[in-house]
């Protein structure tokens, strides 16, 4: 039995039945990491020692039968944007060189408390800025399905590590599609919960009003298990929502009879990849066969989403990244010149090109004289985009779209063309602007063998319906069981 091929619920079952131990599973994953990392590079830091130690503790708890959750003893990976106590956290940036947080992010703390074993920290685009994980200061991550392709981004390492069976599941963050788009590229399930459903405390901020943490898993059941552990109000995050957290597994009935699935015409556009479109349309038919009704809906302000996103997100980022100034922690370059020299050199050497580009964009859009035309206007249009969804959800329960306009593209293909790169997120961005939950799940493969993702978007706090629909689709198909050969 290859332990690394298991899902959370699969491994959990085996642990409960004493067919294996967490230490054994952890060792299997560490070995797998050792084998495939040279090719995939999904990790920035592997914490083998700590992982084995917590696996040992999990085994003890399992032996005693005390405080066991479906995650007890399950090895997972964490995007390097989540602060982990005593373990270096880089955000894939040189500017955080040597930064070891003295605190855990709330999400990591909750997962640890649920008994999960943390194998290490996943690679990503620097400060989550990118759609290909090529903006990591350390190394790109390679798509396990085709090593010359990107895994998507920014949570590319988290998606690739699950696809390559280097961990059972992982967590990432999604600001404009950074969970769903890489999930689509890597053929795994990626869930972005409602803004505020999961605490942002200790998650390094890119764009505070958009960032949201979520899981990467091999199937929908695992996504529900992860969300159960991650979700809930956090007194340390004023923007986290005070609402009861249901047991998301109870939504996994396979039953979608009478469910109204909205199909927005704005998401099936001229110029999108034909194979992607075909796979998604086929997926809609599957849902229809299962008893769901397909209804056309319209999201008329979709065309402004990318523009709004790049104003709002960069504005917030320009402010969020001001703290990396060489004074308190991380990199400091040139202590001999003036304060201004130190700031300039530290930030020039510490930040990569894309991060600098976005800081400049954001600084510009917040500047006196431009604020009204850019940031303020963008905030207003954002409200219109949110209203679009409110309106659409009056006639449907869930919205189905492609996750990305194309399958995974080649490394280097879009690096020199930021605008094309930004369009990778064209179908995922609106969801963040509206704050609603969304999921991407495998719905087919291109002729070249690259995964295609189906995106399902739900009402605010209605992750239940999102998971229910995804599970029904998954139950009728087998795409999610495919694994890349590396």
């Amino acid at each position: 039995m290859d332990l690394t091929s298991l899902t959370i619920h699969g491994l959990s079952e085996k642990l409960k039945n004493r067919e294996t131990t967490s230490v054994e599973a952890t060792k299997a994953f560490l070995k797998r990491i050792e084998e495939v990392e040279p090719k995939v590079r999904a990790f920035i830091t592997v914490t083998a020692g700590e992982a084995l130690k917590s696996a040992g503790e999990a085994d003890k708890r399992i032996a005693k039968g005390e405080g066991i959750t479906p995650l007890t003893g399950v090895p997972i990976a964490v995007k390097d944007i989540f602060c982990t106590k005593d373990i270096r956290t880089t955000c894939a940036s040189k500017i955080l060189e040597g930064f070891i947080p003295p605190y855990d992010s709330t999400v990591v703390r909750k997962l640890k408390e649920a008994g999960a074993v943390i194998l290490g920290k996943n690679n990503m685009d620097e400060f989550a800025m990118g759609s290909s994980t090529e903006n990591s200061a350390f190394s790109p991550t390679y798509n396990p399905w085709a090593l010359d392709r990107v895994p998507g981004g920014s949570s590319g390492g988290s998606a690739a590590s699950v696809a390559a069976s280097e961990c059972v599941a992982s967590i990432g963050t999604d600001t404009g599609g950074s969970i769903r788009q890489p999930a689509s590229c890597c053929g795994v399930v990626g869930l972005k919960p409602t803004y505020g459903r999961v605490s942002r405390f200790g998650m390094i901020a890119f764009a505070s009003s958009l960032d949201q943490a979520g899981p990467f898993t091999k199937d929908t059941t695992d996504a529900a298990i992860m969300l159960n552990a991650m979700a809930g109000h956090d007194p340390s995050d004023s923007t986290s929502i005070k609402a009861e957290v249901p047991d998301y597994r109870t939504f996994l009935t396979g039953e979608v009879k009478g469910l109204k699935v909205g199909i927005p015409k704005e998401y099936f556009i001229e110029g999108m990849d034909k194979e992607v479109e075909a796979s998604v349309r086929e997926a809609l038919e599957v849902l229809k066969k299962a008893g769901a009704a397909l209804v056309p809906v319209t999201l008329p302000h979709t065309e402004y989403a990318v523009g709004v996103y790049y104003l709002v997100a960069t504005a917030e980022a320009s402010s969020n990244l001001a703290r990396y100034d060489g004074v308190k922690y991380g990199l400091r370059v040139d202590e001999t010149g003036s304060l201004l020299d130190m700031y300039k050199k530290t930030r020039d050497e510490g930040f990569g090109g894309e991060v600098k580009r976005r800081i400049m964009l954001g600084t510009y859009s917040l500047s006196a004289g431009y604020y009204d035309a850019y940031y303020k206007k963008a905030s207003e249009v954002r409200t219109l985009i949110k209203n679009d969804f409110d309106e659409a959800f009056k006639s449907c329960d869930i919205i189905a779209t492609p996750t990305a306009p194309t399958a995974a593209f080649k490394l280097g293909e879009r690096v020199e063309d930021p605008l094309t790169m930004y369009l990778s997120d064209i179908f995922t961005i609106s969801c963040n602007l509206a704050g609603i939950p969304g999921i991407s799940l495998p719905c087919g493969f291109t002729k070249e063998g690259l995964p295609v993702g189906l995106q399902l978007l739900g009402r605010t706090l209605d992750e239940g319906t999102v998971l229910k629909t995804a599970y029904a689709y998954e139950s009728a198909t087998e795409w999610h069981t495919r694994r890349p050969k590396i």
């Binding site: 405390f201 901020a205 402010s319 500047s367």
Partner: protein
């Protein structure tokens, strides 16, 4: 006067909450550098602010005390700039939608009253401090102390309603008295818990249009505020008179020279790029919070002063001194309650007690002497049990030891003999012992009266009540 000055003030008041505005760190002043910090106020990656409810309550109280309208919804905003004492690279403040607006307070000036408008009150966090210790001026380093980072402040912005430095100081004092009365700020200007910037411009008398203003900073006493404003007004008048232009700029007051000087720094070019703080929800101040704050508002200095004048019939000067702090006013009222003698009580509290406290550099709160003891003393004087002169000495001992007067008087053996029959006996013996003098007095040598008084005092070891002695002697000598 050809010109008039137009002055508006921006006051920053540190709120006396136990913890900081967005984290649980202590706000205590004067601790070792960087001992009152955590990941949140240090601006470490990924941390988030959580608003201190107490600070909101305090800010609401101040808003009500100066008649501001509380906005049911206000917005925190980020003010972005780089400086080492600002760990996040932005200060969380309020910008377009402040906590409260449209207030006013009244000041006493030149024997009259004047209303000063208050534009707005908003909440914000304080920055840290840069320390330039000994010997490091020559190096490229400064030290940063972040203990103060994140301490809650309210900024109180006035309308440009003041015309003289005296009005400005009167307004500042009134504002500070209210803050201290509310027990939400210690009002200490030297330690910087009450700070003031002044916007000053001049215009021709009668002109409507405002002149170009300069913003004055670095005035850490009322005296300096007055000096800085006076200097600046004259400087601007001189410029205008010479046909030169006033430049809009920030000027620092130099206390040693008594002048203001342009900062001439890049700070001037700041574009703070304000935008709504996405890590905090809009602040909704509900009617319940406002009502609660209103109910717990104490009687404010103005009202108390007026009440003292009417209820106790004491002079306005006394009322002003006695209401300088809530503690002193309460103390005085306790003395009055026990004695029923407002003016006499005022004399003791304002005269003797404040003199002694001032000598020791203490507040009424630090003093061991209880109001009831002062009341006892006043009662003893009234009964003639002690002379007014003795009472002052007794008072000093009461002040030093905190003991009630009766014990002190007894221990010192200075009880005054006012009992007339007792004194009559003593006087009879004095007269019997000096028959010649009695005869001489009665035959017209009235100057001898003093001699009899002296003998009587000698016989009573000075404890006889002089008024009573006079009265009885006169009767007895009259034969």
């Amino acid at each position: 006067m050809k010109y008039e000055a137009v002055i508006g003030l921006e006051v920053h008041a540190q709120l006396l909450t136990d913890s900081k505005l967005f984290c649980g760190c202590s706000t205590r002043f004067g601790s070792e550098p960087n001992t009152q910090v955590c990941q949140i106020c240090l601006g470490m990656p990924g941390v988030l602010p959580v608003l201190n409810k107490k600070a909101v309550e305090f800010a609401v109280k101040m808003s009500l005390a100066v008649n501001c309208r509380i906005n049911p919804r206000s917005i925190f905003a980020r003010k972005n700039y780089f400086y080492p004492d600002l760990p996040k690279g932005y200060q969380v403040s309020q910008y377009t939608e402040p906590l409260s607006e449209h207030g006013h307070l009244e000041i006493d000036i030149d024997g009259g009253r004047k209303r000063i408008g208050i534009t707005r009150i908003h909440m914000e966090e304080d920055a840290g401090k840069l320390l330039h210790g000994e010997g490091i001026e020559d190096s490229n380093f400064s030290f940063v102390d972040l203990n103060r980072t994140g301490v809650p402040l309210i900024e109180i912005v006035s309308e440009p309603d003041m015309r003289t430095s005296d009005e400005a100081v009167a307004y500042l004092k009134a504002l500070r008295d209210i803050l201290v009365y509310l027990r939400i700020c210690d009002g200490n200007m030297e330690e910087g818990s009450f700070r003031c910037d002044a916007n000053v411009s001049v215009r021709l008398m009668g002109a409507e249009k405002l002149g170009t203003k300069a913003e004055l900073k670095n005035m850490n006493s009322f005296k300096y505020v007055k000096e800085a404003i006076d200097y600046e007004i004259q400087r601007q008048i001189d410029l205008v008179e010479n046909g030169e232009k006033v430049v809009q700029e920030t000027r620092l007051f130099d206390a040693s020279k008594g002048i203001t000087a342009s900062m001439r720094s890049k700070e001037e070019a700041h574009d703070y790029r304000y935008f709504p703080e996405p890590d905090l929800l809009p602040l909704n101040v509900g009617a319940k919070l406002v009502d609660q704050a209103r109910e717990t508002l104490p009687e404010l200095p103005e009202a108390k002063r007026a009440r003292f004048i009417t209820d106790y019939a004491i002079p306005p000067y006394d009322a002003g001194v006695l209401t300088a702090t809530r503690e002193l006013a309460d103390y005085y009222e306790e003395v009055v309650k026990a004695t029923g003698e407002p003016k006499v009580s005022s004399n003791w509290v304002m005269g003797e007690l404040l003199r002694l406290l001032k000598e020791d550099g203490k507040d009424v709160g630090d003093c061991a002497l209880k109001p009831s003891a002062i009341a006892d003393l006043i009662g003893m004087i009234k009964k003639g049990a002690i002379s007014g002169k003795m009472a002052k000495e007794v008072f000093e001992e009461m002040y030093k030891t905190g003991k009630p007067p009766a014990g002190i008087v007894k221990a010192r053996g200075i009880t005054q003999i006012s009992d007339e029959s007792e004194l009559a006996g003593v006087i009879d013996r004095v007269l019997e012992a000096n028959p010649e003098s009695v005869d001489r007095y009665r035959s017209g040598k009235v100057q001898l009266f003093g001699f009899f008084v002296g003998e009587t005092m000698k016989a009573t070891k000075g404890q006889a009540n002089p008024q009573a002695v006079n009265k009885i002697l006169k009767e007895k000598l009259a034969g």
